[in-house]
């Protein structure tokens, strides 16, 4: 079971991980990935637009795919939307499993697919008043392709 959540506000990664591990003593490994707003020179904010009717369904599909590939993995995905400042967290992926290889693989898979399969778009605001939409990266497509 990999739970999903979409929200504008911040999340508490420690509380999420504690909830996931509570009462479980069969899990030997937990991986928590946090994606953060980088303040590239002059960036003042990032706004995440998304496609409300499709976003949760797509996150759910990605979570199901990971659960099917790594049946022993439990976890969660929390993705924020709206306007975020440098240093703020955008996304949290936590995976836990009996052994570490599955937890690491599932966390990377979830991030690679979120980057390429979930309908979010990032707009950058710059100190000079300009803004621009982030271009999709070839490296993200390459990363996603390794799970084909």
């Amino acid at each position: 079971m990999i739970a999903i959540r979409l929200q504008p506000g911040p999340f508490d990664a420690a509380a999420e991980q504690a909830a996931l591990l509570a009462g479980r003593t069969d899990l030997g490994a937990a991986v928590a990935f946090t994606g953060l707003v980088r303040a590239d020179d002059g960036l003042i904010a990032l706004t995440l637009e998304h496609y409300p009717a499709m976003t949760l369904a797509q996150m759910q599909a990605i979570a199901h795919e990971a659960a099917a590939r790594w049946p022993g993995v439990v976890g969660c995905i929390i993705h924020r939307h709206g306007r975020l400042l440098p240093g703020e967290a955008i996304v949290l992926v936590i995976t836990a499993s009996p052994h570490r290889a599955d937890a690491f693989a599932a966390a990377q898979f979830l991030m690679d697919w979120l980057k390429t399969q979930a309908p979010f778009w990032k707009r950058e605001e710059w100190a000079d008043g300009s803004s621009r939409w982030v271009e999709a990266k070839a490296s993200d497509n390459d990363a996603a392709a390794r799970w084909a």
């Binding site: 994606g35 995440l48 637009e49 998304h50 496609y51 009717a53 499709m54 369904a57 993705h79 955008i90 996304v91 991030m111 979120l114 980057k115 390429t116 399969q117 979930a118 309908p119 979010f120 778009w121 990032k122 707009r123 939409w133 982030v134 271009e135 999709a136 990266k137 993200d140």
Partner: protein, 84 residues
């Protein structure tokens, strides 16, 4: 009627975030739809000029230019996604 939704710079270039359109029965694929939409206004034409930068979802499932339209209720047009 089909609901068209636009996101990110596709939305900004077209100038509206949604419109409700009666699609002609002659449009059989996503590629046909994009050709037809590009004729609606200079904004549509500009947004759809480079098809390599356009992605489409038909009834909330990712589609390709070859995807058949059938009778969609909702079609979204947007740039490649950049979340995560």
């Amino acid at each position: 009627m089909t609901t068209l939704l636009y996101f990110a710079w596709v939305r900004e270039t077209i100038g509206v975030d949604t419109e409700s359109l009666a699609l002609p029965a002659t449009l059989t694929t996503v590629a046909d739809l994009l050709d037809w939409l590009a004729l609606r206004s200079p904004g549509h034409a500009a947004a759809l000029a480079n098809r390599a930068r356009i992605r489409v979802a038909v009834d909330q499932a990712f589609a390709t230019p070859q995807t058949a339209l059938a009778t969609p209720r909702e079609i979204a047009i947007f740039p490649p996604v950049t979340g995560g």
